[in-house]
């Protein structure tokens, strides 16, 4: 059975078959040859996999994120952050990191953040004295913060696949997300100091008040989304729906940058993207069910047991594996296929599944910008028209910063779990 569940899908993936077809074909062949279960399982399990109210947060967040990207919200966040820290050395670089973090609290998608913030910051960073490599590396990797910082689409998918509470995952990701942003900011500050790059504009209360007034509706958005989830007033899905409505009101009626035709187009695009991911969720549900009944996760646990490695070494091995997978396969598929395999191992090692979710999301976040195939790289290339070689070289120091953050998050579980215990 192993060849139909492991070798066959790997071969089909390498041949470029659609991921959902690969999973469905492998599952169907296994069902017909090895498992005495009617094919009706295909239909029932696919429906059951997408029949979840928690997953509905994904299309709502996608919709809200795209509306905000096109509706002037990211521009106002940039202006507000710059008015606050413009006088600090390396302020443009620091503004990029802070804006990506703030945008991440709204959009939940790394590539969307690279596109939205990158469009605004690429020119000013180059004009501000940052070389093309540093600029590209900073924009590509800062966008990754959004993949980890709540509300994160990666964490919603992990929560669905591992049957963990999504609001607890969001709470757990908060401090690791801030740690990553802080480490990135420290590196940017040091790099600016080394290059002799100063601030852009000294802090003035009048300017800060103006930027705050102008960006008030944009800045209120993270407060509504995260405040609603963390206080337990809204479920993540309800919060996503409120965010979408709020984005419609702000971008159409307050900033007046989106008209009705664009609204419909954005809505249809969001559902199109949702369909691309959810059809994989449906097929992955069938594949995960067959994996579980075939005992492959348990066999993997036994293999790791047999290796007689200490838990820290197994976690290191898992991190390396996820980093490699993360730069080859898209995040949604990687999470959906690997979660049923890796969570039993993590549990066996005594790793809390909530903490393990943060580790997985962080690996996937790094995979998004790891050469040669990270998606953020191609988004940046298409958006800024930068040479691929410059992006690859520029990413390297930031990759180092992210790996340091990953090690801290992996081996310091309290960083993820402390807030969960406090308010979860």
């Amino acid at each position: 059975m192993t060849w139909t569940l492991v070798a066959l899908p790997v071969a089909l993936l390498l041949l470029g078959f659609p991921i959902y077809v690969t999973l469905l074909a492998a599952s169907a062949v296994t069902l017909m040859l090895f498992v005495d279960v009617p094919l009706a399982l295909l239909h029932q399990t696919m429906l059951g996999s997408v029949d979840s109210f928690s997953l509905m947060a994904i299309p709502f967040f996608l919709f809200a994120g795209e509306l905000m990207s096109r509706g002037g919200i990211s521009l106002r966040i940039v202006n507000w952050v710059l008015s606050l820290i413009g006088g600090v050395r390396g302020s443009l670089g620091l503004t990029t990191v802070a804006t990506c973090t703030l945008f991440g609290t709204i959009s939940g998608s790394g590539p969307a953040t690279v596109a939205a913030v990158g469009r605004l910051m690429h020119g000013p960073l180059r004009d501000g004295g940052y070389d093309p490599r540093f600029t590209a590396g900073l924009l590509v990797t800062s966008g990754g913060i959004a993949t980890l910082i709540p509300p994160s689409i990666a964490l919603i998918l992990y929560g669905a696949a591992a049957e963990q509470a999504i609001n607890l995952l969001f709470i757990a990701a908060f401090l690791p997300g801030l740690l990553l942003a802080l480490l990135m900011a420290i590196y940017v500050y040091a790099a600016a100091a080394r290059r002799g790059i100063g601030g852009t504009q000294p802090f003035h209360w009048a300017e800060f008040r103006r930027a705050t007034r102008d960006g008030f509706w944009a800045l209120l958005m993270p407060v509504i989304i995260l405040g609603g989830i963390y206080t337990g007033v809204f479920s993540p899905t309800e919060s996503a729906g409120i965010a979408a409505l709020y984005a419609i009101v702000v971008t159409m009626f307050i900033y007046r940058m989106v008209d009705l035709r664009q609204l419909w187009e954005i809505a249809a695009n969001s559902m199109y993207l949702t369909a691309q991911v959810f059809i994989i969720i449906a097929a992955a549900g069938v594949y995960a069910w067959i994996l579980t009944v075939s005992g492959i996760p348990q066999a993997l646990v036994a293999v790791f047991d047999g290796l007689d490695m200490p838990p820290w070494a197994v976690l290191l091995l898992i991190n390396v594996f996820l980093l490699v997978v993360g730069c080859l396969i898209d995040p949604a598929s990687a999470i959906l296929v690997l979660t049923p395999l890796l969570v039993p191992i993590a549990k066996h090692l005594g790793v809390d599944p909530i903490h393990f979710g943060i580790i997985m999301a962080m690996n996937i976040e790094i995979g998004l910008f790891t050469p040669p195939f990270g998606v953020n790289i191609f988004v940046a290339q298409a958006t800024f028209n930068v040479k691929l070689r410059d992006i690859y070289v520029g990413i390297l120091p930031f990759l180092g910063v992210n790996l340091v953050a990953l090690m801290i998050v992996t081996y310091w579980p309290d960083l993820s779990l402390w807030l969960v215990r406090l308010i979860g």
């Binding site: 094919l39 299309p59 969307a112 596109a115 993207l273 958006t383």
Partner: protein, 197 residues
């Protein structure tokens, strides 16, 4: 990746594709409205509306499987093209046709199961415990979705055999991974700049 054919304005294909796109937009906008209505009813009127949650799920299920048919029509399903992008032209055509055949075969496997499940729900008039909604509705989404996927896959095979695939050197647009509308829009724009066969 381009649609299998550029449907003539006003043709049946063009009307069907734009109709499905319009419907997808409408379904998410109505879902947002219902979601907010549910929160308002709970906190403002202290009277939760229980049937809203299954309705939203039903609409999303329909959106997903109709959207998947549209994605098949556009040949934009997410895939890993690390190896296939390096294949010589004729091998790439064979691999792409094989992928589409597999897509059609898997859809053909699902359709009879979905038909059976949907008709069973209708015959037994099975309904949800909350809201008393007919269970045939979400089951039918898979039936309709996979029938459309099957048809779109067949159309795609015809086009692949007739026109082949773009040369290996031509960069494919970045897959809209991690749910990224901006990336997909950029990818489409980048793809549109590339010469096509």
């Amino acid at each position: 990746m381009t649609p299998p054919t550029r449907p003539r304005r006003g043709s049946f294909e063009a009307t069907a594709v734009s109709g499905v796109r319009w419907l997808l937009g409408a379904l998410i906008l109505v879902s947002v409205a219902l979601n907010v209505a549910s929160v308002v009813a709970r906190y403002v009127f202290m009277s939760p509306i229980f049937w809203i949650e299954p309705i939203i799920i039903y609409m999303m299920i329909w959106s997903v499987f109709l959207g998947a048919a549209l994605v098949t029509w556009d040949d934009r399903h997410l895939n890993v093209d690390i190896v296939s992008a390096t294949m010589p032209g004729p091998v790439r055509v064979v691999a792409r046709v094989a992928a589409m055949v597999a897509l059609v075969v898997t859809a053909a496997l699902v359709v009879p199961q979905s038909w059976e499940a949907t008709t069973l729900m209708i015959r037994n008039d099975q309904r949800t415990a909350v809201g008393d909604l007919p269970l045939a509705v979400p089951h039918a989404a898979l039936l309709v979705g996979f029938v459309l996927i099957l048809l779109a896959g067949l159309a795609r095979i015809v086009v692949l055999v007739r026109d082949g695939v773009p040369p290996a050197g031509a960069p494919e647009p970045p897959a809209p991974v991690d749910g990224d509308p901006a990336a997909s829009a950029i990818g489409r724009a980048a793809a549109d700049r590339e010469p096509r066969r």
